[in-house]
Symmetry: C2
Subunit: 151 residues, 2 copies
DNA sequence: GTATTTATTGCAACTGATTGCAATAAGGAG
DNA sequence: CTCCTTATTGCAATCAGTTGCAATAAATAC
């Protein structure tokens, strides 16, 4: 019936249902190691389940996100990207010039989390964070261009 | 002609033009002390300029953002919010339960910025950051509910 | 003033995503 | 198994935002 028996049981206890549509969305994410856009998920799900409605996909992505099974991130590509939640926690540094995405691990943000907790009593969701900025390469490239322009 | 003579001059030097539409979008933001959604901006602009097309508003918001005059933030209300860029830099802690927005100043994130620079050579845009999580109030409320459920 | 260049606008078509609602079907009870 | 409740689906309408393109008009040169 399902390859996620404990998950399914806990969903049912909470009054939710385990439908083929829901399973297929989760399966599409589980079979991909990387982020997928909603459009990619719909395409993959329809390989097995050709007439699945897109609103069911969007609603299940929101549902799985609420459960904490799925993460939504805006990596600046114009579409939200989804991925299965899996440890270790990581974050992304996204260059606004070359759009390169550098993955960093949670340690870099642990201090900030503690600080927000201590100073404001705020329990931040510092998981899978997207930070925009300028990467090393583009900084040096920009410096060179500025120099050339100055001459 | 305009209440922003230096701005207009520098735009012209860069090959841009200063149109009534562009001015009216900037004016709408300047007259509001707080964040506005695109819809609110369109409504305010149309008080003086009834037939302005929405795509001109969106394009000018993007344009002013590229110039660094305007900031876009997703405060989790389902719409992007815009505001005139003004110091001092600040950030937002947004509770995912009660949706309360707590404004904090830049000091809290300064350490993170230095760390990203030092460890990864990444110059992060740590300006007007939105951090989601659970606020103090909702944490204590959740703790009480859990206790009650345990009985 | 007129002519030229081209950034910007207005419009209409379109995209990704959301929503209201009736129909369906999952899960539990008998 | 059948019956019942209601979470979920499918569909169509809708919404916020984007895009292609021809028309307009801002800025510059003359």
């Amino acid at each position: 019936m399902s390859r996620h028996p404990e998950l399914v049981a806990s969903l049912r206890e909470a009054g939710h249902r385990w439908t083929p549509q829901r399973e297929s969305v989760l399966a599409a994410l589980a079979e991909s190691a990387r982020h997928l856009t909603a459009e990619e998920i719909i395409a993959r799900v329809r390989v097995r389940y050709p007439y699945l409605n897109k609103s069911a996909v969007y609603r299940n992505l929101a549902f799985l996100t609420r459960l904490g099974l799925v993460h939504q991130t805006d990596l600046g590509h114009g579409h939200i990207e989804y991925e299965l939640h899996q440890d270790p926690h990581h974050h992304h540094l996204i260059c606004r010039h070359c759009h390169h995405v550098l993955q960093i691990d949670h340690a870099a943000l642990a201090t900030l989390g503690k600080k927000l907790e201590r100073d404001f009593g705020f329990q931040a969701d510092l998981d899978h964070f997207a930070i925009f900025g300028v990467c090393k390469k583009c900084q040096t490239r920009a410096a060179k261009t500025a120099k050339r322009a100055a001459r």
